[in-house]
């Protein structure tokens, strides 16, 4: 029995983690599988106290790769970092990359992750060709859009609740070099921030904006925008980039992230990155800036932190982003890593997170009832705007809020009823927001 938690280190649930090179065997009878535990809240935690969760991280073998087509098949525990270490130098990358490389292929499917190119490439699930799964009744099947369409689509973004993902076959993207050409510039307020994001996406395949979550009034929404693309061979260094070794944050007796330190940090960060810059950068600095700092979640101390990410449709009412920021700054949200990005079309996964609109991600140190209050208030704005939240980040959203945000839920539940009538698969997340019985 061990204490399991996600990247936010909240909540903590007692469970049995089963890890083996033979992941297929380890998943037999397990109520959930997990990878590197990088979802922030309770998505990778067992639904029952002491429940068995199979961990995929030792199932990390490459099974087939066709350089002519770029199709890779690998065991679900292969990390994106290992994939990048092997394939960036060969001229291939995953078509979609989330904000950290410390995720597994299985986790990328289960959360249907997206990245700075969502407006052109969609989510990771759009590029998945086939999955090998242990379905809830214990059988092991090949699952694709052709063979089992309902299960396949429910599994993309299905938070691991539709079965255990054992192998992933995904289309990699051929890249001109493994370096990134990027430009960044400062934005002074929220109007500029949103406009910079939308404008960037009209011209660039990779965009994101960082903002200062503590700035109020006229400065609300200040930050900087970053746009980029894979660098052409002529402008990139000749050798492929080395993935940096990491510095580890030690366990800390109390958190270093609070309203004061975040204010100082955000000023510093804006001064550091808010200048107009152009040039070729290391892919790690562009895609996965926090990967250089191992165990950075320890900065929040033993109490942990919550992530919050939502998407707000702006086609009906563009002012909704302002309302969101007003609630956020009024209730106070000292978030050092705050990212805004416009999303493209909704993916095919039944519960896939992104949809057209403005996506906002915040890191929030946990401060008891105040944090719950903040999440509730933000969710009210999201709900009124017709938006939704990202389950892979979530720890605090209430079931009634989630259900109201998610008109696709009945279709997902129908697939679960068909494939898992006895509810063998469950997680702490599904108990919290989907009403599964622990």
């Amino acid at each position: 029995m061990s204490q399991l938690s996600g990247w936010g280190r909240f909540p903590v649930v007692e469970g049995i983690e089963r890890v083996s090179e033979n992941f297929e065997a380890a998943t037999a009878g397990a109520e959930l599988s997990r990878g590197l535990g990088r979802s922030y809240g309770d998505a990778s935690l067992p639904g029952t106290r002491g429940g068995v969760v199979a961990r995929s991280t030792r199932a990390d073998r490459l099974l087939a790769f066709a350089p002519a087509t770029g199709v890779l098949r690998a065991e679900a525990g292969l990390s994106l970092r290992e994939l990048n270490r092997i394939f960036l130098a060969r001229g291939f990358a995953t078509p979609v990359s989330p904000g950290t490389q410390y995720v597994t292929l299985g986790g990328m499917v289960a959360s249907d992750v997206h990245g700075g190119n969502h407006h052109v490439a969609g989510t990771f699930g759009e590029h998945v060709r086939s999955l090998r799964m242990r379905v809830p009744d214990g059988r092991v099947l090949e699952v694709s859009a052709q063979s089992e369409p309902d299960l396949f689509l429910a599994t993309l973004g299905g938070m691991g609740l539709t079965g255990h993902i054992l192998e992933v076959e995904v289309q990699l993207e051929r890249i001109p070099s493994a370096w990134i050409y990027r430009e960044s510039r400062r934005v002074r307020d929220l109007d500029e921030l949103v406009e910079a994001s939308l404008e960037g996406s009209r011209h660039w395949p990779l965009t994101k904006c960082w903002f200062d979550s503590t700035a109020r009034g006229a400065k609300m929404g200040r930050g900087f925008s970053i746009v980029g693309r894979w660098a052409e061979p002529g402008e990139a260094p000749a050798s492929p980039p080395e993935l940096h070794e990491r510095i580890a944050v030690p366990p800390l007796p109390l958190g270093l992230v609070n309203a004061l330190t975040v204010r100082v940090f955000n000023e510093f960060w804006l001064a550091l990155h808010g200048r107009e810059r152009k040039g070729v950068v290391h892919p790690q600095a562009f895609f996965w800036p926090l990967d250089g700092l191992l165990h950075w979640n320890r900065l929040y101390g033993p109490r942990g932190f919550a992530q919050y990410q939502c998407v707000l449709p702006i086609d009906r009412d563009p002012r909704v982003v302002h309302r969101f920021f007003e609630v956020m700054t009024r209730l106070g949200c000292p978030s050092p890593v705050s990212v805004l990005k416009d999303c493209g079309a909704q993916g095919r996964g039944l519960l896939s997170f992104p949809k057209p609109g403005i996506s906002i991600a915040l890191d929030v140190p946990l401060r008891g009832a105040r944090t719950q209050q903040l999440v509730d208030a933000l969710n009210d704005v999201v709900l009124a705007a017709g938006g939704r939240i990202y389950l892979a980040k979530d720890a605090l959203t209430r079931a009634e809020h989630f259900r109201a945000m998610e008109p696709r839920l009945p279709r997902f539940e129908e697939v679960r009823r068909k494939w898992d009538p006895e509810r063998r698969m469950k997680s702490a997340l599904s108990v919290r927001v989907l009403g599964d019985v622990p």
């Binding site: 090179e21 073998r61 490459l62 099974l63």
Partner: protein, 245 residues
């Protein structure tokens, strides 16, 4: 390098075989079961192993198959120059005391059969003027200790054999590398509480590859275990009798 590996599908063997593959070495892997070997062979090929990676089922509990397996590997590789043995069984002292059938298996696999495999490999290597034999023993074989009485006894015998082999045949070109891992986080040690200086298989693999390249006769991995075992070896018996380590 043309290497045969017994036990490359998991743990430290997997990590070491991947390093060899990334250097572009030719590999042939032995172990059980067949489909697991095939998956590891594909993995090693995609990571850069030279040519197809051959596989053959070879069970450490069935020594009658050893020579035929090595003959097949020899044919496939065109004469191997390196043999790596990471395979072995493990169980807690409690389980071995309670389950005499499994205890017999473990002692046979970790001592008798490993020695027989090494003998078969040694003969083939010496017949062509030498090579490297790298075998994973354990720090458990350094001293009689309460938590590893039985497992440690088999590993002590194995370490002794490997030391003798190195003394006797190094002049003829056979380099024996004995790896003595301390606590390494693999499936074998899953569920045990990691002590200080617990290592990761990838780190151990890098250390072992250096030792193979340099012909280092004994490797403690991770390195702090060399110091730990120096102390343990020096402790008087009345102290060992009192401590639980």
């Amino acid at each position: 390098m043309k290497a045969v590996l017994l036990g490359a599908t998991s743990g430290m063997g997997r990590a070491l075989s991947r390093l060899l593959a990334e250097r572009g070495d030719s590999l042939f892997i032995l172990g059980i079961p067949a489909d697991d070997l095939t998956r590891s062979a594909r993995d090693l090929e995609e990571r850069g192993a030279k040519g197809p990676v051959g596989t053959l089922e070879c069970d450490l509990l069935n020594p009658s198959g050893f020579d035929a397996a090595l003959a097949r590997a020899d044919d496939a590789l065109g004469g191997f120059d390196t043999v790596v043995v990471t395979a072995g069984l493990f169980a807690s002292q409690e389980r071995l005391e309670a389950d005499s059938e499994f205890c017999r298996k473990l002692l046979a696999a970790n001592f008798t059969n490993t020695v027989l495999f090494c003998e078969a490999a040694r003969k083939r290597l010496l017949a062509r003027g030498g090579g490297t034999l790298c075998v994973f023993s354990s720090v458990a074989g350094e001293r009689g200790r309460k938590p590893v009485v039985l497992y440690g006894a088999a590993k002590a015998g194995l370490s002794h054999y490997l030391e003798g082999l190195d003394h006797k045949f190094r002049a003829q070109g056979l380099v024996t590398v004995t790896v003595k891992p301390g606590f390494v986080k693999t499936s074998m040690t899953e569920g045990l509480k990691p002590p200080p200086f617990a290592g990761e298989p990838e780190g151990v693999a890098r250390q072992v590859l250096r030792a193979i390249e340099r012909g280092t006769p004994v490797v403690y991995a991770p390195p702090p275990w060399a110091l730990v075992m120096l102390v343990i070896r020096a402790l008087p018996r009345f102290v060992m009798r009192r401590i639980g380590f």
